[in-house]
């Protein structure tokens, strides 16, 4: 993306005031998206964003500047701005030798979305919309969305790293709203992978439309969710976000090193049920949503076991936090765009399979709640308290899934819930998501097999 000798010159300039580390992050991202809504094509959007971020580190202090001007004068100006935090000055210009990093690519892109005509993408949206509308007269409104992006990055730093990545992502979503005299209800289905347009060889957009509509229609007869503490069975692939939020964020080294995490200082301790093995893995193949070749600091993605059979084995690390502890980054340094500083972020975070049969877990639960889809959530990493929306949930009565429930929140405490998992099935599945932290959003995967938590607070309104 940029000439190597120019990058060397920019790194040298960035170190001139005495910085002990400098980095250039170059990004060129193209996006395209389309919406089909109320039977019409709307919201066709295309974007191009290109620029570079310059980072200079001296001791514990980081200076950062970014520019959309990728010319040599533009980059040198950003290098000067970023290096203003280091004021020792007077050191001789350093020349950095750069060595290419060859990291395996956890995905192959067969069909670049940019080679596919817009008409073909719109056709997919129409098919999904019509399928959703066909599910019943109570469907009032359907929105289908298509999006793709191609993000090319180059990372070079004064440790000699020269790494490039080229990540293509494709997603498809359908949202349906149904109406009855009980009010309005919504159903939502999304598929998102780190692959090209071949995504549509493996997913059926019409089925997604029908599923979203069916959820909305089912929820029309939903009863208010109960209020209080209940056993909860999470359907496979429905609730990985709970472990991402309730546990994963507390295992990010930035929170740990500032003692803003309840998992600080607990390595080697039993922090979860022995049934729990939690992994963060940016190398997952098959186009998982959170996979990449190198992270946004030029470090190859890797597989990191965080909790093994309930024992806390490691945290997740980016360059700065790892440097502070004298260890290697775990490939978790990510940023939303070149305008952002990298920080510790998850990739694909999931619980491994256990021994149980999913149907038997439900059958073995006399009364409780079955969650088929969790919505967004958030967590206070200091206390571990979390909240999640249930967007598709059912009552379990006498070991059987019965009535649909209206949307309500689940609330609990992460460390507490991790110890209350008493059954884990063998039907692992992943779900794509977007993780927000300090104002930056990055694509992540979450996953889990069907499992049961012995008690979680459901924040419903039933019992009036």
């Amino acid at each position: 993306m940029l000439d190597q000798s120019m990058v060397q010159k920019v790194l040298g300039a960035a170190l001139r005031t005495g910085g002990d580390f400098a980095e250039v992050f170059v990004e060129d991202k193209r996006t395209s998206s389309a919406l089909y809504e109320d039977g019409r094509v709307d919201g066709l959007n295309s974007g191009r964003d290109r620029g570079a971020g310059l980072r200079v580190v001296i001791g514990e202090t980081t200076g950062y500047a970014h520019t959309a001007d990728l010319s040599e004068p533009g980059l040198l100006a950003a290098a000067e701005a970023a290096s203003a935090v280091a004021r020792q000055g007077g050191t001789e210009p350093r020349i950095v030798a750069l060595t290419p990093i060859n990291a395996p690519r956890p995905y192959d892109v067969e069909i670049l979305p940019e080679t596919i005509g817009k008409a073909q993408k719109i056709e997919l949206l129409k098919r999904a919309e019509q399928a959703a509308r066909g599910e019943g007269a109570s469907i009032r409104q359907v929105t289908a969305g298509y999006g793709d992006s191609r993000r090319r990055t180059l990372i070079a730093n004064s440790d000699g790293v020269w790494a490039e990545d080229d990540v293509v992502r494709t997603r498809f979503v359908v949202q349906a709203v149904a109406e009855a005299d009980t009010g309005l209800q919504m159903g939502y289905k999304s598929k998102a992978h780190t692959v090209g347009f071949e995504l549509f060889d493996t997913i059926d957009v019409e089925e997604m439309g029908r599923e979203a509509a069916a959820v909305a229609i089912t929820k029309l007869r939903a009863r208010p969710a109960p209020s209080g503490v209940f056993p909860v069975v999470l359907k496979h692939g429905s609730g990985g976000i709970l472990f991402h939020e309730a546990c994963g964020h507390g295992l990010e080294a930035d929170a740990v090193l500032k003692e803003a995490s309840m998992y600080a200082g607990r390595l080697g301790q039993q922090v979860a049920s022995p049934l729990v093995t939690l992994v963060d893995d940016g190398t997952v193949g098959g186009g998982e949503w959170g996979s990449f070749s190198v992270d946004d600091e030029g470090r190859p993605a890797s597989r990191n076991v965080l909790i093994e059979n309930g024992i806390l084995t490691d945290y997740m690390w980016d360059f700065l936090r790892a440097r502070k502890e004298g260890r290697q980054s775990s490939g978790n340094g990510r940023r939303e765009t070149y305008q952002h500083l990298p920080m510790v972020r998850m990739t694909n975070t999931f619980l491994l399979d256990g021994p149980d049969d999913p149907d038997e877990i439900v059958a073995g639960t006399p009364n409780g709640v079955y969650v088929a889809q969790l919505g967004g959530g958030s967590v206070d990493t200091t206390t571990g308290d979390f909240v999640f929306g249930m967007t598709e949930a059912y009552l379990i009565e006498n070991g059987e899934i019965t009535e649909p429930l209206r949307d309500a929140n689940l609330i609990g405490n992460g460390p507490d819930v991790m110890t209350k998992i008493d059954a884990v099935a063998n039907d692992f599945a992943m779900t794509p998501g977007t993780c927000g932290k300090d104002g930056q959003s990055v694509p992540v995967g979450t996953g889990q097999p069907t499992l049961r938590i012995t008690g979680v607070t459901i924040g419903g309104t039933a019992g009036e």
Binding site: T61, T62, T67, V177, L374, T383, T457, G459
Partner: protein, 447 residues
Amino acid sequence: MSELLDIANRIIGWADAGEDVEAYVVHRRDTDIKVYEGAIEELASAESDGVGIRVVSDHREGFAYTGSLDEEILRETLQEARDNASFASREDWVALPQPDGVSPADVDLWRDSLASVPTERKVEMALELDRMVRARDPRIRNVESSQYGDQLGERAVASTTGISSYDRSTACYLVTIPIAGEGDDSHIAAGYSVGREVDDLDLEAAVAMGVEDATILIGATKPTSTRLPVVFDRRVASSIISIIASTLDGDAVLKGRSLFAKRLGEEIAGPGIQLTEDPRETRAINAARHDAEGLACRPVELIRDGVLQTFLHNSESARRTGVASTASAARADFKSKPGISMRAVSLAPGDMDEAAIIAAVGNGLFVKNIIGTNSGVNRISGDISVGAEGLMIRNGQLAEPVRECTIATTIQRLLKEILHVGNDTEWLVSSSAGVTLAVDGIALSGL
């Protein structure tokens, strides 16, 4: 008048015969400083540009954006927007907005002084904030970070249909994130102060807010499930008011995605409840002279004496509905075509202060913090279920702290069951004003 407007005018000058073009051009200068343990942790400074282009041709609309002002990329972006329009559905109501004759209010949101504050002074303020928080209370264990940030933003909108607007504003803030605790019990909170120039910032207020909020929940336990009246702290009430106002979005109404879609002219709130949007309110951080389509911002009465008066509209939802735009077009950034958003919504104040409201409620819950509003609010059904932390109210006094519980109701019920609105309106960091708010009939889920 402005370099930005020149760029916007240049872009619309490239319009082909028979098409309309709108250019939205933004420029920002940002400084962000984070300190940790008495030293600078991060210092970031940046200037950035952005351009969003809308093309309407034969009643079809397309959009494209770029973060570059490079002439070749700008022309490529216009071409891409044009190409996108050719694939869009044709609708009679698709058109770019026209000037509507309303003049912008004379509000000044720009302070030259902010541009000339040396970085050293900004760093010193963040360090001072950090020192003050650490020294304030022995229960403060650590401070995750103390920050200073500022932004000088400019934006211009020009179109071949005659729109030409330019806005600029400055903002700066201090925020500290202390962690307080005793034994195994830790709590994190944020204290902040916001202004348009450095002299507006109140270090002491930020320290007091952060320390109070981090320490007040120490020893909190999980309460038992019940139904009770709730008093929302001003900052929490600001979030609640934003949630209510966000359901009055004219586009969501058209698309069958608002619970109030068919309720215009009906009583949706208790008697006496007034909800007003007025982006000319300079104390609101998102105040503006023009909306994101270049129309002059104006006051909009949303609820008068409990009766729903209007929805918020941009030019597209207004044309589809057959009404005038309320100049509520908004864009999160330059990367999307205008949506609809409030800028400065407030509930008309009542005559009691916080203590009087707590006394009047007698027994209930004082909510200091809510979490999970992104997942726990369904704007279609109106269901609300969010995580809450706060203090129980017993015999008219604040009592023991509670956490790890949820409060649930529906937006419809909440509006009907407002018990008291405080007299303590305060403009905070959001698009709605904070004011103490008491609501009856809330389901508390805990043990």
